[in-house]
Symmetry: C2
């Protein structure tokens, strides 16, 4: 998506050749008009897939997920990083997710009430790097015996392993901005999936 | 907001006379059409207030906040519950927030880059009970020497202290659903602010 690539170049910051900071428009402060344009691209890409539910993980996935779920006219569900008091007993699916940046493993949780085996799930997240969060969401969809119909990502770091592993598993992935390299602080893009 | 009250009656569940579970449409699974209708009511209520920024806290506040920020055509900022690696040094405002349900105090954080003293801030959150989260957000706005122009809440438990304390401080509060009592598992409403 050209508009997002333009924003990454103009407003993103690269640290340590590997970390891309986009918190001025994507994951701390959010530009709602840009976010809605991104949701429209996901809508166009996935609208024929019979999606019945949009699934993301708190917190940065929620903004794109609610906007695309509005366009698709299906419910949005976000996985929680801790079990709320309102989910009782074993009425939830969980999966452990390792965070490379924080060096911790945490359990993500979705109530059994909100994903069922007839669902065609669109997974949305803001970043794809090593793919841990998306893999955790896929595992939850699998546990619910539902179907992953697609994966929508705002910014992918193609040089980390997440994309390749998800592709090997045969998923239909739409990354709006695919970063080939951040070497020497310079952003090099691969062709985005919506541009193909 | 009549539509929200109707959903609370039909789909909400009351536990222990005090806990209202609305996670089938509001804060785990989200009905995007309902959420957008709520955002439209906030827009109508606050549109003349010169809002320059919408502020919320992760995670459940993000969905209503992004939708209302889209309508107001201003950026949305969400406070983080832990300091991301991309915020360095002391370039952030923080406030401690006590959670009665979890019995823990946590620091919430907003980068100094995204609130400044010329901002008129609309604070949005899903729930108002004891008012700790909103008070924490107000404190951050104060530290930035910005102005709180209004507070928009989806569901308020009017029988807990948050509403009264915020009113005493003179804030303009729009709660779309005001719960007077959950005694004996029955939901009794006060008149919502958008119905006045």
């Amino acid at each position: 998506m050209k508009l997002l690539e333009k924003m990454v170049i103009s407003d993103g910051k690269v640290y340590d050749n590997n970390v891309l900071k986009v918190d001025s428009f994507l994951n701390h402060q959010i530009d709602p008009k840009l976010m809605n344009e991104m949701a429209k691209v996901f809508y166009s890409y996935f609208k024929e897939k019979g999606i019945t539910k949009v699934l993301t993980i708190e917190a940065s996935g929620i903004a794109p997920a609610i906007l695309v779920s509005y366009l698709l006219e299906v419910p949005m569900v976000f996985a929680k990083k801790s079990k709320p008091s309102t989910i009782t007993g074993d009425n939830f699916y969980s999966s452990s997710v390792y965070s490379y940046t924080k060096n911790i493993t945490s359990n993500i949780i979705v109530s059994k009430d909100y994903i069922s085996k007839n669902d065609n799930v669109l997974i949305i997240d803001d970043f794809l790097a090593n793919g841990e969060a998306v893999r955790g969401l896929v595992e939850i969809v699998d546990k619910a015996e539902a179907n992953v119909s697609g994966i929508g990502i705002l910014v992918e770091k193609s040089f980390q392993k997440g994309r390749l592993e998800l592709e090997k598993s045969g998923f239909d992935i739409c990354s709006l901005c695919r970063i080939a390299s951040l070497e020497k602080g310079k952003v090099i893009f691969n062709k985005a999936d919506d541009e193909k």
